[in-house]
Assembly symmetry: C2
């Protein structure tokens, strides 16, 4: 089986690549990782990995990765929320136009490859009920969410027409992300856990009462793989679903950090409100009923403490370098 992953050097892309390579039953022969940068050495050194480095808005580059014999494409590359808000044209080019280019390349091949598209709960916004259900209209209040909602519509129509076999997943906010902060408005949700664990301070730009809808990298990778593995019939008439997550306030996140790493570590979080970030984050819903996704067997994290422990295991070698 041959696979392409856009955003393949990103933190979800690389974990997904490893999970796919490790699945012997799947029998992965080849994965093209498309990204602006090279993937980590362990992936580069794997003979089955082909690193295709460049801009996802470059059609030729995408055509190198998505070939007539490509069985599946995981389209994760995106300009994230605050980034797409700051540079509208870049957001449209990457989040909308490149998505359409990928769909059109796949369509030209005439091989109906599976395409798993990373959408986002940023596609929700505006007047929302207390608890968001599966039939909620998408009325995003940020360009990133608009572009993701459009991607979902395209994935659906290309699937209905038989051009591709598409599946779109609305990711909750993913915590704890490894690495450095990015341009997502939600990036603080990882920073306030990740940085204190490593002895550094982190700024929280929203109030402790702010509720969020979260999922861990482990669960996101498992669910993204599951979206691929499910038969087409499991999707019914709509190829997009809000993934399970869990609801927690930012204050409770820091309390979980304290429970695991102690008060000195938790005290490294500084509370400093940023109206630009608040405006985006407060527009995102934090409570969902994910009836469809639950019925389809998608996984859900058991809460914040296991998520932090998994981060320490996966990214910090099982120790807390910043512990007092």
């Amino acid at each position: 089986m041959k696979i392409a992953i856009t955003g393949g050097a990103g933190f979800i892309g690389r974990k997904l690549a490893r999970a796919l390579l490790d699945d012997n039953a799947m029998g992965v022969e080849h994965i093209s990782l498309v990204d602006m940068v090279d993937p980590p050495a362990d992936l580069l050194d794997d003979a089955r990995i082909d690193a295709i480095t460049g801009d996802v808005t470059d059609e030729d580059l995408l055509a190198q990765a998505i070939r007539p014999d490509t069985d599946a494409v995981f389209h994760l590359a995106a300009v994230v929320s605050a980034g797409a808000e700051a540079d509208f044209d870049l957001g449209m080019a990457v989040n909308l136009d490149a998505t359409r280019t990928i769909l059109d390349i796949a369509r030209r091949h005439g091989t109906t490859p599976k395409i798993v598209f990373a959408s986002s709960c940023a596609a929700y916004g505006g007047d929302l009920p207390e608890v968001v259900t599966d039939n909620q209209q998408l009325t995003p209040q940020n360009s990133y969410g608009i572009q993701k909602a459009i991607g979902e519509l395209l994935i659906n129509d290309y699937s209905r027409k038989g051009f591709i076999d598409g599946r779109a997943l609305r990711y909750p906010t993913v915590v704890v992300r490894p690495g450095k902060p990015n341009k997502a408005a939600s990036t603080f949700a990882s920073s306030i856990i990740r940085e204190p664990l490593q002895g550094q301070g982190a700024v929280c730009p929203v109030t402790p009462e702010t509720a969020m809808w979260l999922a861990s990298p482990r669960t996101i990778v498992a669910n993204t793989k599951r979206a691929h593995d499910l038969p087409a019939e499991a999707w019914g008439p709509w190829r997009a679903v809000a993934l399970p997550g869990f609801t927690i306030t930012v204050g409770e996140m820091v309390a979980a950090l304290e429970a695991i790493a102690g008060p000195e570590v938790a005290a490294r979080v500084r509370w400093e409100r940023d109206p630009a970030i608040e405006k985006i984050v407060y527009g995102w819903p934090s409570r969902f009923e994910t009836t469809h996704a639950d019925a389809m067997g998608f996984a859900r994290d058991a809460g914040m403490e296991p998520v932090i422990r998994a981060f320490i295991e996966d990214e910090l070698g099982g120790v807390i370098p910043g512990a007092a």
Copy 2:
């Protein structure tokens, strides 16, 4: 005030143009009518009308119509449902790309013109409740509906960013359309009234029990104009709304025809199911609660008989040429 109407020679476009020209309070100085064909003589002869004939996918043509001093654009041009289903690329080019081109031309001018976008209830589909409400997710099961749903998202984001002052309206099926059948899957809904009234037979490709959600040309034109006239604040956080309509079965439509024109006229309807049309039409919802639109003062027809009488008045000079 200066206006552009795409699809301006179409039956809604020309009625809208006349309504705008007749509104003295509005003080219309100029209307560019963009269409593949020239508008009717009464409009061509009006010194305030500028007929711009050509393809709406031609950016230069659109730029002729949408100028730095254009106050409002009514974007009605579209490849309709069965047409967009038969020619996917044409649907994408006209319904998606041309819409985006219009938004980008307006954005470049930096003048935040009003843009009223004709969306459609074909944007609904899939698993729907018995009665569709304002917060229903759009999961269209046809390419036309997908492209209209994308247009709504773009109208919203360009408005939120301050590039335009957009308003999108989900039209019910419009009956009774004058003229000839078109490529809309719903075209029969006008044919079964229009042709018998003029002494001709008409084929109904769906069962008499098929319920539809309808609005008359008069009401559509009034509501489209109202969408322009309403202040931006009236729209709240989302610049798209399902317009009021009325629910009626196809059998009841023919019964209304019989009540007005007699049984011989009604007998000119032949019932001959067409699975391709049925597949599209049965996917459209027929019952709505249009709470937002009602609160915004959009109008609703009083039922089928007044709609037929208005057609006879407006299009047949007040007489039934096909009466026995």
